[in-house]
């Protein structure tokens, strides 16, 4: 086949080495059972719309770690190729790495074949990879782009299902966002209408979902190029730090100081001669 992969060729079958390792670690020691760390999931609202001249993708910028906002300005619209961008919802690391790998593979492909990658090719590679991992990679993606065959918007599910659609929302805030899209979507909108629609859909997700928030990023992809608007709309709740939080050395008083000498006993001593080159 004409695909080139950088790191290793796609092996057939499923690779669950890490899952077995995790199980061994968790059940291993008697005293301290090691718990696998919980992956950071970003509650998210992402949306995409196909309009007259191309595709508009939108996303919020909040990354949460349970109840705390871990990142207020997280970038959820990932670069895949000059004409293809991907919004990711689900486990943050999975969406990040999956899109990185896809982007690297497509760059190698376009260097090898001298062609610009097509959106449908990106979708097929993603589908193959996510199906192979049986839903273990928690990546819910919206892929959009413009290529020689036109403008396309695809959804890729974590189990490897794909669907080609004219408008779409995903993430924990997708229900309110879909409401806005279903109400106002029309075929062949012009640019300002499409941007307003996506922006309002993300805004609905931000207002109605705790996991989404902060600013709205937009990415407009056309035949001519890409306009990555970050941020398109900023949150009105902008917190400025009230004071400096660095402490001067000497702020904390030292009450007592004890020095314990460690008694070390020389047990064994070996000397190994290094083979330096004969003729120096």
């Amino acid at each position: 086949m004409a695909l080139s992969y950088v790191l290793e060729p796609a092996v057939s079958g499923f690779n669950f080495e890490n899952s077995t390792r995790n199980i061994v670690l968790e059940n291993g020691s008697e005293e301290g059972k090691i718990k696998a760390p919980k992956p950071m999931k970003t509650g998210t609202t992402i949306a995409g719309v196909v309009y007259k001249d191309g595709v508009v993708l939108g996303a919020d910028t909040r990354a949460t770690s349970d109840e705390v906002v871990a990142d207020k300005m997280c970038a959820k619209i990932h670069y895949i190729a000059p004409n293809i961008y991907c919004c990711g919802a689900g486990t943050a690391a999975d969406t990040e790495k999956t899109t990185d790998m896809l982007s690297s593979n497509l760059t190698i492909f376009s260097m090898n074949s001298g062609r610009n990658p097509r959106v449908v090719m990106a979708v097929n590679i993603l589908q193959d990879m996510l199906f192979r991992y049986r839903g273990m990679i928690g990546a819910h993606l919206i892929l959009g782009g413009v290529d020689c065959t036109g403008s396309h918007l695809y959804t890729v599910g974590p189990y490897g299902s794909i669907d080609k659609v004219p408008y779409l929302a995903m993430g924990s805030g997708k229900l309110p966002a879909m409401g806005i899209l279903e109400d106002r979507f029309k075929g062949n909108m012009d640019l300002e209408e499409a941007k307003a629609l996506v922006s309002d859909a993300i805004h609905a997700g931000i207002m109605s979902d705790l996991g989404s928030g902060n600013n709205i990023d937009l990415c407009v992809i056309t035949k001519e190029g890409v306009d990555y608007i970050r941020p398109h709309r900023e949150s009105i709740y902008n917190y400025k730090r009230q004071a400096k939080y660095k402490y001067k050395p000497g702020t904390t008083p030292v009450l007592t100081k004890t020095v314990n000498q460690l008694e070390l006993e020389l047990v064994h001593e070996t000397v190994q001669m290094m083979e330096t080159a004969g003729s120096s």
Binding site: F131, Y159, G160, S161, D163
Partner: protein, 200 residues
Amino acid sequence: MDSHHSYSQVKGVSTGVSNLFIKSYVSSKTINKLIQVHDRIFCCIAGSLADAQAVTKMAKFQLSFHSIQMESPPLVKAAASIMRELCYNNKEELQAGFITAGWDRKKGPQIYVVSLGGMLLSQPFTIGGSGSTYIYGYVDAKFKPDMSLEEAIQFSTNALALAMGRDNVSGGVVHLVVITEAEVKHVVVPGNKLPKFHDE
């Protein structure tokens, strides 16, 4: 569901897809569950969308390789066999059933059903999926061998409309594909143009 008559075939499929995570959410109202695996061979899918798409992709590749090696269009039975091998050998991991139908030069129009565990059966007409339980009576009573094209389309549309009326997870739009020796025609019937029955 499928019906076949003297020279061609009508396959019909209704199109709701529900989301794995929010069980009551319809992910797509217009998804096309009729996947083309070769020029005159289509597969209707049921079950997990990801599994079905993966199997049909693999089958499409193997079938096109087979037809290049044989230097002739593949038999419908060959397509169905490929699907059956994939479903049977991976039955623990997969959850998808198929209706493979098409036209070939040797036996004309044929329908094969490949079920969840990998059973392969040839039938004059067949139905499948969650909504099929509601229309067994209807199709058994109304099917006639050697229907004309219009009758077959009407039969399929009626059956699908009845199933969609009773099954909560079926719905949306009806996709029909008419496969003949000469051509393949894709007909889409939106929900509001479907025939109405007394179940409303």
